[in-house]
C-alpha cells in the first residue's frame, strides 16, 4: 500500500535508503522493540548483547521455507539493538524471525546458534499452534513464528475497571476448560468467544473478577507422554510454560486459525468489563518454555542466554522453578522486558491485574539468593501505567523459598495466602490446635499483614493446583495415576478428609457431610476479610476424581461440566447468596483488621465467643470458633455479624452475645439446615425465634446478622 493511500503525509523517514533482498529498507527506529507498523512499512527492532550478525527472516503463513532473508547492515545497529525499517511488506500473512550469529569468541553462557531461526521475544502474536490440539508438523525447523499484528481494535470507551480491591470476589478459571465441554452449550467451546457467552452466569454468581490461568502463547504439545490408563495423549493443558509473552494464546481463540486471537481476546476483556468484571492474568515470569540444556532454542537462549537465565558459573541452568530454567528477573534487561510486557497488557489489553506464578523467584538475585529489595518487585509496585493494577504474588517457589507474609510487598502487592488455605482446611477437619489460627485468618491475617491491611491477603481454600473443593472432602489421598507418573506427582500434604469413604459413595450420611463441608468452606471464605478467590466449578461441586495435579488433562477430568449447575443447584444457590452477603456488608470488606476498639452500638469491632458469650475456647482441643463483628452497615448506622463454625461431630448450643437495644438477630445461613433453609437472601433474613441461643449442628456453621427489626 502506498503512503498516500493511508492518508499519512509523506515523511522523510518513509522512504527507503537501500535495497535488501528486493525490499526497500532504511535504518530503523530502535524503540519500540518488536515489529511495529510504520508508514509504508514495518519497523523491526531486536536486541542482543553479544550478536555479531543478525538477519531478518521472512515467511509466508503456511510455507515452510522463508521467502526472504535480510541481513541487518552493521550500521543499523546502535549499542546492542538492531533496527531496520522494511518497506512494501504486506503485513497480512507475513511471519518473521531472526537468525543470530554469536561472537567469534563465545562466553561460557552463550548459546548462539545461527542454524536456527529465533522468534521475537516481543512478538505481538505468534503462529504455529493456531488451533488447540491440531496435529502439528514435528519436523518444522521454525515451529513458533512471530507474526505482524495491527493494533486497531475498537475499544470504544472501555478502560480498566478499577474495581475497589476490597470489593473484589475473584474467580479463577481456565479459558479452555470453562466452556470446552459440550454441556456448556456455547457456539465456540473452549475459546475466548465461548467465555463471553458465560458472562451471564458469572454475573448471576456475583463474582466481579476473573483470574485467567495462562493465556500467553504456549505449546500444548510440549510434553510427550500418554495417559497410561487410557493411552490418550497428555497435554500441557494449564499452560505454565510461556512461548510468547506478548502474544495471546491462539488456540484459545475461535479465530486463531485466521490470526485474529488478539482481537478476540480484546473483545472478551471488553465484554467482561461491560459486565463489571475485572480481568486478572496469571503470568509466568519465573521460567520459559526453553527448558534446560536439552530444551528447544526458541528465542531468549539464542539471543542472550546469560542475560535471560540464571546460570551456574559453569553455564548450567539454575532450576528454582522446578521446570528446567529460571528467568533472570532481576537482571536490568530482563526487568525491563517484564515491565514492557506488563505495560503492554495493561495498556493494549486493558488488563486489570496480574497474578505472578511462583513469584518468590522474582525476589532472587542473579546468583539465586533472595534479595532484600528486589528491584523488579519494587519497579512494578511504583510503575505509573500499572498503578491501578492488582499485583498478586504466589509468594513461594520450587526452590524452597516460602514468603507468605514476608514477600516484599511495598505496601502494594497482595499474596495468595497459602496459610489461609491451610488454616481453613485444618479447622474443617477438626485438627487439634486449629481454632485460634482460623480466627486470625477470618479477620484478614493480622499476624502476617499487620501494616498492609486485609487486602494483602488473597484468601482461598482451593485453586487450580490441588484438590477441587468437592474432592477436598471426598479424598484422603491424591489419585494421580492418569498423569503417568505412578501417582508420584502432585502434593501429598492436602489437609483433606474424605468424610468417611474414599471417593464416590452412596452412603447418604457421608454425602450429606460432604455437602455441608463445602458450604462451610464457602461461608467462611466469603465472610473472611481479605480478597476471596473461588476456583471455577467449586460452586457446583466439580470433581477431578481425586486428581490434585490435573495440569496435563484436556478432557472431562479438567473441564467444567455444566450439568452440575443443575445437579448441584443447592450449593450454587448457597454460594451466590454468600457472595451477595459479602457485597451487602462493608464490614466484611474492610481494609483494616478489626480490633477491640468500638465498632458499633458500644460493641467492639471484633470479639470472640464460645458456648458462653464472651468465653472463647482457644485450647488445643477446641473445634469451635464464634466471632462477633460490629461496624457500619451499608446504609449507615450500626450492624452486627455473628459467625460460628463448629468442626466437632456433635452439635453445640451457643449463647448469643447481647445486642444493643433495638437490634435483633436474623439468620443468614445455617449449613446444618436442609435447603432452602440453609441460606436466605441478604436483607430478607428471618429473625431468630430464640434471641438468646442458637444450636450449631455437627460440623456446621451459622451466620447471623444483628440489626433493627423491621
Amino acid at each position: 500500500m502506498s503512503v498516500e493511500a493511508q492518508g499519512v503525509p509523506g515523511r522523510i523517514d518513509s522512504f527507503p535508503t537501500a535495497e535488501l533482498a528486493g525490499f526497500g529498507v532504511r535504518a530503523g527506529h530502535p524503540m519500540p522493540f518488536g515489529a511495529t507498523l510504520v508508514p509504508g512499512g514495518v519497523n523491526f527492532s531486536v536486541y542482543s548483547s553479544g550478536a555479531s550478525a543478525v538477519s531478518l527472516v521472512l515467511f509466508r503463513h503456511g510455507e515452510r521455507e522463508p521467502f526472504a532473508e535480510l541481513p541487518f547492515p552493521g550500521e543499523y545497529r546502535i549499542g546492542g539493538v538492531w533496527a531496520m525499517t522494511v518497506f512494501g511488506l504486506d503485513h497480512e500473512g507475513v511471519e518473521y524471525g531472526y537468525r543470530v550469529t554469536g561472537p567469534d569468541t563465545p562466553s561460557p553462557g552463550d548459546r548462539f546458534d545461527p542454524a536456527r531461526i529465533l522468534a521475537d521475544p516481543y512478538a505481538r502474536t505468534m503462529s504455529g499452534r493456531d488451533v488447540w490440539g491440531a496435529e502439528v508438523d514435528w519436523d518444522d525447523p521454525y515451529p513458533y513464528r512471530s507474526v505482524l499484528a495491527s493494533d486497531d481494535f475498537d475499544w470504544e470507551d472501555d478502560r480498566p475497571l478499577r474495581v475497589a480491591p476490597e470489593d473484589l470476589v475473584v474467580y479463577e478459571l481456565h479459558v479452555r476448560g470453562f466452556t470446552a465441554d459440550p454441556s456448556s452449550g456455547v457456539s465456540a467451546p473452549g475459546t475466548y468467544a465461548g467465555l463471553i457467552e458465560k458472562i451471564p452466569y458469572l454475573k448471576a454468581l456475583g463474582v466481579n473478577c476473573v483470574e485467567l490461568m495462562p493465556v500467553f502463547e504456549f505449546d500444548e504439545f510440549d510434553m510427550s507422554r500418554v495417559n497410561p490408563v487410557t493411552g490418550e495423549r497428555l497435554y500441557n493443558y494449564w499452560g505454565y510454560s510461556t512461548l510468547g509473552f506478548f502474544a495471546p494464546k491462539a488456540g484459545f481463540a475461535a479465530t486463531g486459525r485466521y490470526g485474529m486471537q488478539a482481537d478476540e481476546f480484546k473483545n472478551l476483556v471488553k465484554e467482561l468489563h461491560r459486565a463489571g468484571i475485572a480481568v486478572v492474568l496469571d503470568v509466568v515470569f519465573n521460567h520459559t518454555a526453553e527448558g534446560n540444556e536439552n530444551g528447544p532454542t526458541i528465542h531468549f537462549r539464542g539471543l542472550d542466554n546469560g542475560t535471560y537465565y540464571m546460570l551456574t558459573p559453569e553455564g548450567y541452568y539454575y532450576n528454582f522453578s522446578g521446570t528446567g530454567n529460571t528467568f533472570n528477573c532481576n537482571h536490568p534487561v530482563v526487568r525491563d522486558y517484564v515491565l514492557d510486557c506488563l505495560r503492554y497488557w495493561a495498556g493494549e489489553y486493558h488488563i486489570d491485574g496480574f497474578r505472578f506464578d511462583l513469584a518468590a523467584i522474582l525476589d532472587r538475585g542473579q546468583d539465586g539468593a533472595p534479595l532484600a529489595d528486589p528491584p523488579l518487585i519494587e519497579t512494578l509496585a511504583h510503575d505509573p501505567l500499572l498503578r491501578d493494577c492488582l499485583l498478586i504474588a504466589e509468594a513461594w517457589d520450587a526452590g524452597g523459598l516460602y514468603q507468605v507474609g514476608s514477600f516484599p510487598g511495598y505496601q502494594r502487592w497482595s499474596e495468595w495466602n497459602g496459610r489461609y488455605r491451610d488454616a481453613l482446611r485444618r479447622f474443617l477437619k477438626a485438627d487439634p490446635g486449629s481454632a485460634g489460627e482460623l480466627a486470625t485468618r477470618l479477620v484478614g491475617s493480622p499476624d502476617l499483614y499487620a501494616s498492609r491491611g486485609t487486602l494483602a491477603s488473597v484468601n482461598f481454600v482451593t485453586c487450580h493446583d490441588g484438590f477441587t473443593l468437592a474432592d477436598l472432602f471426598a479424598y484422603d489421598g491424591k489419585h494421580n495415576e492418569a498423569n503417568g507418573e505412578d501417582n508420584r506427582d502432585g502434593n501429598d500434604d492436602n489437609l483433606s478428609w474424605n468424610c468417611g469413604a474414599e471417593g464416590p459413595t452412596r452412603d447418604p450420611e457421608v454425602l450429606a457431610l460432604r455437602g455441608r463441608q463445602a458450604k462451610n468452606a464457602m461461608l467462611l471464605l466469603l465472610l473472611s476479610q481479605g480478597i476471596p478467590m473461588i476456583l471455577a466449578g467449586d460452586e457446583v461441586g466439580r470433581t477431578q476424581h481425586g486428581n490434585n495435579n490435573a495440569y496435563c488433562h484436556d478432557g472431562p477430568l479438567s473441564w467444567f461440566d455444566w450439568g452440575l449447575a443443575e445437579r448441584n443447584g443447592e450449593l450454587l444457590r448457597f454460594v451466590r447468596e454468600c457472595v451477595a452477603f459479602r457485597a451487602a456488608h462493608p464490614m466484611v470488606r474492610d481494609r483494616r483488621h478489626p480490633c477491640g476498639d468500638e465498632g458499633a452500638g458500644g460493641l467492639p469491632q471484633v470479639s470472640w465467643h464460645g458456648e458462653r458469650a464472651g468465653e472463647p475456647d482457644w485450647s488445643e482441643g477446641s473445634a469451635l470458633v464464634a466471632m462477633l463483628r460490629s461496624g457500619t452497615a451499608a446504609g449507615g448506622g450500626g450492624e452486627h455479624l455473628y459467625l460460628a463454625a463448629n468442626a466437632h461431630w456433635e452439635a453445640r448450643e451457643l449463647e448469643l452475645p447481647a445486642l444493643p437495644d433495638g437490634a435483633v438477630w436474623h439468620l443468614f445461613a445455617d449449613t446444618g439446615a436442609a435447603a432452602p433453609e440453609d441460606v436466605h437472601t441478604p436483607g430478607q433474613e428471618p429473625p431468630l425465634a430464640d434471641q438468646r441461643r442458637i444450636v450449631v449442628g455437627p460440623r456446621a456453621a451459622v451466620a447471623l446478622v444483628g440489626r433493627a427489626h423491621h
Binding site: G405, G436, T440, L448, C595, G596, D597, W608, G614, W618
Partner: protein
C-alpha cells in the same frame, strides 16, 4: 494458645511476632493495646535473643492466653538468669539524644507500656510474663 518454640535467633523474630499478633487478635485488644503488647513483646524477645543467647544456641518458647479481663504472654528461655523487672537501667530521659549511648531502652519501654511484667526463674529457665488488660 498452643505453645510456639523456635530457635532463639533473629531469623525467628517474624514468626514469634506473628504469634503475638495472633494473641492480640484473639484477645480482641484495642489497636493501641495491641501495639503496646507487640512493643513489649518485641523488646523482651529481642533482649533474650541478643543478650541471653548471644553466644549459645537455644530455644525460645512462647505461650499465651486470653482471660476474661486480660491477655498474657509468657516467654520462656534457658539463658542465664535475667530479671527484666529488676533492671534498673532507666535511661536518662532529659539528656539530649546526641549525647546518649544507644541501648537500654528496650526493657524500659517494655515495662512502661505493658500493664504488668512478671519474672520468675525456675528449673533453670527464665519465665517472663507480659500482661495486658483487655479494657
Amino acid at each position: 494458645m498452643e505453645r510456639l518454640r523456635l530457635p532463639a535467633e533473629p531469623e525467628s523474630l517474624d514468626e514469634l511476632m506473628a504469634y503475638v499478633q495472633t494473641l492480640s487478635a484473639l484477645g480482641g485488644l484495642t489497636r493501641t493495646r495491641a501495639h503496646w503488647l507487640r512493643l513489649a513483646a518485641e523488646e523482651l524477645i529481642v533482649n533474650i535473643i541478643t543478650h541471653g543467647h548471644r553466644d549459645r544456641p537455644g530455644e525460645l518458647e512462647l505461650t499465651g492466653g486470653v482471660e476474661p479481663r486480660r491477655v498474657w504472654l509468657r516467654l520462656s528461655d534457658a539463658a542465664p538468669p535475667f530479671d527484666p523487672t529488676a533492671y534498673e537501667a532507666v535511661p536518662d530521659l532529659e539528656r539530649p539524644l546526641g549525647e546518649r549511648r544507644p541501648g537500654g531502652l528496650g526493657v524500659y519501654l517494655a515495662r512502661t507500656v505493658a500493664d504488668e511484667v512478671r519474672y520468675e526463674y525456675s528449673s533453670g529457665r527464665n519465665e517472663t510474663t507480659i500482661i495486658m488488660n483487655r479494657v
